[in-house]
């Protein structure tokens, strides 16, 4: 059975088409894997085995009839931020426990139309707010990786911790995630897998529970660059139901993996070499630079001068938008309702939201409410939008000189659960390398490039020009080849 789960998505896709095995067999293998490992990892909030098997049977019929879609029979995991028809969708929150959408998100609709099937909804930081998946109402997700020198449970990263853990532990062939400030890239780095965040507007946000509207983007987790390219192609595309959706046609990203990056100019921003950066990360970055040089790319030193202000900017804009986006969770039309004894409406709102939201969500709603409030809007929100302009401009200027940018994904490897939890700012600093890209709306990929001394995966990030995911994938493919990262978490792939 684990033979089947060791195949990559591209391999499984080709094998299914060649009728080497059935979609049902493949899916059953994954269903078994989930049953076996999920209790420990807690990567899934809702498991939909029956639905997955039924879907696999339907896929087999389609394959037999020669009508296979791009992802026919492929079992996937879906971050519990995407609304799935009649399947519980919680956003990792008590306030949506039991909520069953009567509609499908555009992203998942595309996956089902391509023939994929759903193994379940994965765990996440509540309302996508976090970098550790330790804020979910449904419990922490455990990183399938363990440090050489310890026995502590490690975080998978966040907010899409469940999806990352599920892919890393081979509980699915790929998984969807969302990335607002790094929520795909950072967990991909912590879990030793590939994670892609496309250009803002590439994927539809319709039916994706909103955190920060001007930053949220759906993206994919996969075991390798090819798998990520295949799945990212399927979920991308214009959606008239999303007014911020780009009208640009989606290229076939798999075709971009030519293996040739000769002559490409790769920028290395000096501002990303931060104080106190671990030497392991710095060394890995240098290795990455070397690999790309050897593959024929030209390395260019660049400056992104406003980098250090990105986190503060993000932590004004994202909470502001979130405070407004989460106002609809009020106990009136769906989700949790706490009916107060005195029966008054105002109490209903306040008690429902107090009981339904966790600490981090409340904190960000408070921050967001404050920065939008009378007297503070100019000093905070307006200011942040102006700095955002400068940050975006930094990239625009850099892209007159280079085609892509190489940086580390995270300032450290996965840390232990409970570490960094005292000071919110310490947790926010996890996103220092990923946030600027989000503010500028650019595409970026994280791929595993090496192991720390402690045996934990470390990732490198490639940032591209707007709507140039093709170059991002192309460079990532070459780097993947050079890095030869073959490590897997213990107990996986056996």
């Amino acid at each position: 059975m684990s033979e089947l789960t060791n195949l990559s998505l591209a391999e499984a896709r080709d094998a299914l088409r060649a009728k080497k095995f059935s979609a049902k067999e493949l899916t059953q293998a994954y269903v078994t894997a989930v049953e076996q490992h999920n209790p420990k990892l807690n990567a899934f909030i809702t498991v939909t085995s029956e639905q997955a098997i039924k879907g696999a049977e339907a896929s087999d019929k389609k394959i037999a009839a020669g009508q296979a879609g791009a992802l026919e029979g492929i079992p996937l995991a879906i971050k519990d931020l995407f609304c799935t028809h009649n399947v519980q969708t919680t956003a990792g929150s008590k306030i949506l426990e039991g909520f069953k959408p009567q509609y499908e998100s555009s992203v998942t609709e595309k996956l089902w139309a391509a023939g994929a099937n759903m193994l379940g909804k994965t765990n996440l930081d509540e309302f996508a707010m976090g970098s550790s998946n330790t804020t979910s109402y449904f419990g922490n997700v455990i990183n399938p990786w363990r440090a050489k020198d310890g026995n502590k449970d490690l975080v998978p990263g966040g907010s899409s911790g469940g999806s990352a853990a599920a892919v890393a532990a081979r509980l699915c062939l790929a998984a969807t995630g969302t990335d607002t400030g790094g929520s795909i890239r950072q967990p991909a780095s912590f879990c030793g897998i590939v994670g892609i965040k496309p250009t803002y507007g590439r994927c539809s946000r319709y039916g994706t529970i909103a955190f920060a509207s001007s930053l949220d983007q759906a993206g994919m987790f996969a075991r390798n660059v090819r798998d990520a390219a295949i799945t990212q192609t399927v979920i991308s595309g214009h959606d008239p139901k999303d007014s911020t959706s780009s009208p640009k046609a989606t290229p076939d990203f798999e075709k971009a993996l030519t293996g040739n990056i000769k002559g490409l100019k790769i920028g290395v921003p000096k501002e990303y070499r931060v104080d106190g950066m671990s030497s392991e990360i710095a060394d890995l970055w240098d290795k990455g630079i070397k690999w790309l040089k050897e593959a024929g790319a030209e390395i260019v030193d660049i400056s992104l001068p406003h980098t250090k202000y990105a986190l503060a900017t993000y932590y004004i804009i994202a909470p502001a938008e979130a405070s407004s986006n989460l106002a609809r969770y009020d106990g009136i039309r769906y989700g949790l309702r706490v009916t107060p004894e005195n029966g008054a409406l105002n109490e209903l709102y306040c008690k429902t939201r107090a009981a339904g939201f966790g600490k981090e969500v409340k904190r960000r709603i408070m921050i967001g409410t404050y920065v939008l409030s009378a007297g503070y809007y100019d000093a905070y929100y307006k200011k942040a939008q102006r700095v955002r302009y400068l940050i975006a401009q930094d990239f625009k200027d850099a892209y007159t000189k280079v085609d892509a940018i190489l940086t580390p994904t995270t300032p450290s490897a996965a840390f232990a659960i409970g570490e960094n939890s005292k000071d919110p700012i310490a947790m926010y600093l996890n996103d220092v390398f990923t946030v600027p890209t989000s503010l500028a709306g650019l595409p970026a990929i994280s791929l595993p490039a090496g192991l720390s001394a402690n045996g934990l995966p470390l990732g490198l990030q490639i940032i591209g020009k707007a709507f140039d995911e093709e170059t991002v994938f192309r460079i990532a493919g070459v780097m993947e080849e050079a890095a030869q990262f073959k490590a897997v978490p213990q107990g996986v792939g056996v």
């Binding site: 507007g201 001007s214 008239p240 408070m366 921050i367 409410t369 400068l390 700012i425 707007a466």
Partner: protein, 97 residues
């Protein structure tokens, strides 16, 4: 910028989230810290810089005036905590317009 308890109380009221006294104290500490950290943005002069509210590459799309939706009351009420007469039921709203 240091936030005091009164400010926290006001924000919680606006956000319609009930907070205990203990939680207020925690918020005072945490949010004061966060806003102090955010103050670094004041190092930048931005008076002549425009606001970037969207990184979207498209203009606002306009939809034709056609009826393409509605008539799905069951779906609308499917997850309602309380419904009756085809409506959402809530504790009495005092100031009706």
């Amino acid at each position: 910028m240091s936030l005091d308890k009164a400010a926290i109380t006001k924000i919680a009221k606006l956000a319609h989230i009930e907070v205990t006294e203990a939680e207020k104290d925690t918020f005072v500490t945490e949010l004061s810290g966060i806003f102090k950290w955010i103050e670094q943005l004041n190092e930048l002069k931005t008076d002549d810089v425009p606001m970037l509210a969207s990184v979207s590459d498209t203009a606002l799309p306009w939809r034709k005036d056609e009826i393409t939706d509605g008539h799905k009351r069951d779906a609308i009420l499917a997850n309602a905590p309380a419904s009756d007469y085809g409506c959402f039921v809530v504790p009495k709203v005092i100031d009706h317009e």
